[in-house]
Symmetry: C2
Subunit: 532 residues, 2 copies
């Protein structure tokens, strides 16, 4: 296989650029062997993932090195793809949208710069992992809780930058961002919010600033490289209660989402939580072959078997309550009154009080257990997430389940879904699990995904996040006024990044250098022609 190169660059020019990179970060931190390149591919990709092959990677240790790298990238027109720790699993991991990018790997920048106990915040570099922060808080006996996503392998900063979700009241991670330091594509350093004043003492206390507020512009974005992020942490509560709840029937989602939505809207339940189907347990704990060897999606009879075996329902979710004991007990009453009449049984809450072992509290330690699901089919397991946003509405949710389950069946794939409950919305995260060694299954997964984008748009739903292979068609589904918002993003992109060097194609935003070429690319064209 030939070395992938940045578009328009000769091997000699690229080699000179790498030499310059090495002068900045040291030779050992320019990673350009074939094996290096492969480590930055998505291990769960739909297909080989080689269409996202980077040309190399470079790993700076400081903000100054990031700035210097960006300046050289501008000089040589080398496109970069920034990652925090590269664990954006289900959405492309560390791999760039465009092949031939150099991965800007920030995982060496892993300092916890500040943890403020009184005000409940931290200031982090992008390389800090969930385990790092968790351990730091425990080792220093700091009574602040972090929110961890289902798979906590990755970066705290990176997860917030992708709008990742956790399951405490601080679980909408992007909403807890407070102040950033960002290297712009030019290499220029900015601080957002109150940090735009040198020496400001409230940078991590107040989310805005003076004038337009930039933080959320660097989220799911290729407008800059985030080198520091302020993030709010939750003060340890006095008490938590949590209950695991099972609902026996598919249709139960209709009443449950409405009741739970009301409790979320009224801040009785204050955390995002996963309302997930039977396949969550089955795929994490077993393999498909233990249940069924036939073609196509699992038949309903097998689904019934699974539900009986694990003694779970069609749906499973966990609600938790956090606060002072009086508050928690009051919320418990409200939750019981809302749910128990329909459940027909009493909720079984388990409690934790300050001082009890933390494992019993309603806050998860980081874990990667959920990743077991990729082994469902055997072979080299893969998964991608299809994640439209819906209003919190039981009837809409039920209709979505019926439509989606039928679509999965049409493409012969098992329906894995969850409805992660926000205050007024649901992130309907659907995973597609496949065996990467089964070419037909992989093709079906791709075709299913493309169909789901169209289906969602027809229902009036848009994705909140997507895999690097589908950023163009998802971006294309944002079509109001001939894609006005995308054109706005591209205008800003061209201004901030005139050489088009930073993360071309991220969130469907292409710099002008690659725009026409990409829009004309085979994948996008197929989608546009509705041939999917």
């Amino acid at each position: 296989m030939t070395t992938p190169l940045p578009p328009h660059l000769s091997e000699a020019t690229f080699s000179r650029a790498l030499t310059r990179f090495a002068e900045i970060v040291g030779r050992e931190w320019v990673l350009s062997t074939p094996q290096d390149r492969h480590t930055y591919l998505d291990a769960y990709a739909v297909g080989s993932g080689h269409e996202h092959m980077p040309a190399a990677a470079v790993a700076p240790a400081s903000v100054e090195e990031v700035q210097a790298l960006l300046r050289v990238a501008n000089e040589f027109k080398v496109p970069l793809w920034q990652i925090s720790r590269g664990k954006n699993l289900g959405y492309g991991a560390a791999a760039p949208v465009m092949p031939g990018c150099v991965v800007l790997d920030l995982s060496r920048m892993n300092r916890i710069l500040e943890v403020n106990e009184k005000h409940g915040y931290c200031l982090l570099e992008p390389g800090v992992g969930f385990y790092d922060l968790y351990n730091y808080l425990r080792e220093h006996n700091i009574p602040l809780w972090m929110s961890t996503p289902g798979n906590a392998w990755g970066s705290v900063v990176g997860n917030a930058l992708e709008r990742g979700l956790g399951y405490t009241p601080y679980g909408d991670h992007a909403s807890k961002i407070c102040g950033m330091e960002v290297v712009l594509p030019s290499g220029e350093l900015v601080r957002t919010g109150l940090g735009a004043m040198g020496g400001n003492v409230a940078w991590q206390n107040y989310q805005y600033g003076f004038g337009p507020s930039w933080d959320q512009m660097f989220v799911q974005s290729n407008f800059g490289v985030v080198t520091k992020m302020g993030l709010w942490l939750m003060p340890e509560p006095e008490m938590t209660l949590q209950a695991q709840i099972y609902l026996p029937r598919e249709d139960d989602i209709a009443w449950a989402i409405d009741e739970l939505g009301e409790l979320r809207l009224r801040d009785v339940i204050r955390h995002p939580f996963v309302f997930g189907n039977y396949l969550h347990d089955a795929a994490a704990l077993t393999q498909r072959s233990e249940w069924y060897e036939g073609e196509g999606a699992l038949p309903d009879s097998v689904i019934e078997q699974i539900i009986r075996h694990f003694n779970i329902g069609w749906w499973k979710f966990r609600v938790a309550l956090f606060g002072y004991e009086e508050e928690v007990r009051a919320q418990e009453k409200v939750v019981r009154a809302a749910l128990e009449p329909q459940l027909g049984s009493e909720l079984n809450f388990t409690s934790w009080r300050r001082g009890d072992p933390l494992e019993q509290a309603a806050a998860r330690a980081p874990s990667v257990f959920a990743l077991q699901i990729v082994n469902w089919h055997g072979g080299r397991g893969g998964h991608i997430g299809f994640s439209p946003v819906m209003p919190t509405d039981g009837q809409l949710a039920l209709a979505q389940v019926k439509r989606m389950k039928a679509r999965y069946a049409e493409f012969g794939l098992d329906y894995y879904t969850s409805f992660t409950m926000g205050q007024r919305h649901i992130n309907n995260v659907n995973l597609i699990l496949y065996n990467r060694d089964d070419e037909r299954m992989v093709q079906n997964a791709d075709a299913l995904f493309r169909t789901l984008i169209t289906d969602a748009q027809q229902a009036g739903y848009a994705e909140y996040r997507t895999h690097i292979s589908y950023m163009d068609p998802v971006a294309a589904s944002f079509d109001f006024n001939d894609h006005a918002l995308l054109r706005l993003n591209e205008a800003v992109k061209d201004t901030l990044d005139p050489n088009g060097i930073l993360a071309p194609g991220k969130s469907g935003i292409w710099p002008r250098q690659y725009r026409d070429q990409q829009r004309g690319s085979e994948a996008a064209a197929r989608y546009a022609r509705k041939e999917v």
Copy 2:
């Protein structure tokens, strides 16, 4: 007095532009008499306010008219200054930063496009006032509560766009924005968030979207004209409790801010509230001459008299609790446990339950009563707000009070302050009250304001919002990396608004057409030379 004109425009050219505007909106909605111009000045300005004299105003009735006006403005290079209802009192009201702008008055666009009871949101045009929305909700018997600012004369949308504050759990108005429709300076129409997908049904349910999130970029901004805004409303709670609390001594602020900060951080008290000094009551209910006729700031002896007379303390604040009855009663216990030992007395809560008259609930109906304070000195009263953001910290707050009170005294002005409590920060809103007919007092007010900007910066505090006369020096105080954030804003401004037609100078952001001229302006230069 000669007609103020847009810079670089002849009277004849400007006249032709007005004719074109009239073709779009109708002749009666182009307002260009001297009297018209005066109605758009700041009635409370420090000085005459004539340095902010608009050339005219134009009032469109629809999005299409806004788009058409912007296109003509581009053609003729006429700078516009968009206002919602123009009641940004204390911060410049309807007047533009730069004289000769044409005020783009959106107050005729006053439709309430949607109120969604189930999901708790509304979709508004910028001309909808607080009274309008309040009346609409009551008349249609919709159990959603709005949050109103101290002076509720203005626009709901406009207030959120200036990061105005109210006093319910939805009181951080900018944080409740969910989706916008915006006319860019070019006349192009965009929708942000999920609205960027035509026909999306969750536009007002989810605050982000796919890729960079723009909503907060149009706040305190001159990047576009907001023509629709989604805003979250609070579902009517089952019960509220509220208590008015007085603290006798200046120093009480230290313990009180720390205790209250902890209750805010832990979401027991969930609303912003004003922690204000004695002058709030005195200035709203009486005139200064009833207390004191001498020169300089009120002496401490008179302050004592005021405090005794009204039987208030040095500090006054009102905390409220919202929710289901069990929750509210639980929160009450936590609040009592936190505050009563230091107060040495029991809190006196008044309650409201669903069905009781709304006037008794802890949610204010719109009111303009607070505006009475401008009559404190007699004459034509004026006020401006100096509003730095601080971390929630009792010792810092006390130090700030001592420093500020001394500064006010140094300039012979009465100290009017409030600390509006956010979750981790305080908006320290200080009003300067003056008699506009007293030239020396006005000069002192101006000099005090400029001194406060420098003082705040030295203490590490920045303003969250400022008057149009001080946007340049405040913007200049954001000095990290040679004003990197301002340069970023200006780069985007020049891209989106190549002709520099929208709100030049808003938040200190000047389009390139006016940049050098303004940066070299007398006021900015004085500030830069620290001659203030």
